[in-house]
Point group: none
Chain length 225, copies 2
DNA sequence: CCATTTTTGAACAAAATTTTAACTGATTAT
DNA sequence: ATAATCAGTTAAAATTTTGTTCAAAAATGG
């Protein structure tokens, strides 16, 4: 489901800029130009993350954050002016999840927001998958293959989980790096292959399913029907 | 298939630099040194993304973008000299998809382009095609002929998929090279014929459809009605 | 902080596909 | 009928993509 983000900054231009970028990323955006407005929206709406400017007239970012933290553990990314190391420490101690120094690249902010959301979201929704002789349990991070429990390292587990969540659909290495690793950069490396190899080692080919190489394209979790 | 990118900048050096980087990433690159040239190429060619400099003599980046947006939602990344937040908002409100400040790191530009393309490509979801005794499934990259699953190599698959997506329409070899391979092909070759032959071998002629040679012109995926 | 495990990225060999080029066969126009 | 094109076939060369290994970097757990 679409993530909802509240942007709080007294500079309307910054709010607008971020709104455009975040909406392009598929987020639902709310805006507030003061701490007071922010708290109002925060109480009224169901939000997933707040971007909070530190320096604002009236209720500043710290006070607003302190107020929010009285009732909620919602992820908060702080915007701070350059050079104020103290700000960062204070912000993080008050429970900010990340901070970004102005002037910032919108792209960077978007990436950080995505990273913070990644840290928080997964706990909520993942369920376990079942195929013949294979159970992938997302709660316990455990795989049961032919009745035998095994622990996979996190990346291997997530890769397997992602592929098995989308059976019979091919993903390119780039897509997998993006979806599983969260990367946004171009890399030609065999990283994905190496992980695939290890998963295959641990879960030898099966009649009913297998991780299949689609030559020239990528990999898929193929299930016989 | 290879993504096609148009670079628009009056500075030839920048065009050349970007061309080198983007080609290394596997993109097909076109270049234009003015807004007018850009619009001409945009009308002639099938493109996937445009990198557009803001400051150009004659038709500037904003005007060019406005022109493009009258007919197309193609992803556009704007290039600008170090500037103000307001510029960004303007560009983005005109429908730019991202914004990069000069001087930039080529790596960063490449990363942004990839990110923008990733956002847009999935929407153009390839769907699977169905004819009598023939299913071409673009998700799993599989062809099912008379109930039997087969895997085609990538070029064969894409060629078949393209032809079958446009039944009863004839394409010249050049068009196919352009559409499937992404080439502006230097001269004449039997490449297409060889691939057609291999597809025909794997999918023997059928009553309801066939890949037909149109003598002196090219090929078509013919469907009986 | 150290020891151990996991992840990463480069190198390279192996496998599969794609392209080329030369040749053969088919069709058309004169 | 014959020349001139155009299409089909073939096999080997060239290219691309994948699998595997390994050492170093990063993360993890005491």
């Amino acid at each position: 489901m679409e993530n909802r983000i509240l942007i709080v900054d007294d500079d309307v231009n910054i709010c607008d800029l971020l709104e455009i970028y975040l909406e392009k990323e598929g987020y639902k955006v709310y805006k507030a130009n003061s701490g007071v407005d922010a708290l109002k929206i925060f109480k009224e709406r169901q939000l997933d993350l707040i971007v909070l400017d530190v320096m604002m007239p009236g209720l500043d970012g710290y006070e607003t954050l302190k107020e929010i933290r009285k009732t909620s553990a919602i992820p908060v990314v702080m915007l701070t002016a350059k050079g104020e190391t103290f700000d960062r420490v204070l912000g993080l101690e008050l429970g900010a999840d990340d901070y970004i120094v102005k002037p910032f690249e919108p792209k960077e902010l978007v990436a950080r927001i995505r990273a913070v959301l990644r840290r928080y979201k997964p706990q909520v929704q993942k369920k376990s998958l079942e195929y013949k002789d294979l159970i992938i349990d997302a709660d316990s991070f455990i795989v049961i293959y032919k009745g035998q429990e095994m622990e996979l390292p996190p990346k291997e587990f997530e890769l397997l989980y992602f592929l098995a969540s989308n059976p019979n659909k091919v993903f390119t290495r780039d897509q997998l790096l993006y979806e599983v690793w969260g990367y946004d950069y171009p890399g030609d490396s065999r990283t994905v292959d190496v992980h695939i190899k290890r998963i295959r080692e641990k879960l030898p080919e099966h009649d009913e399913w297998q991780i299949k190489t689609v030559w020239g394209v990528g990999y898929k979790f193929e299930v016989k029907s």
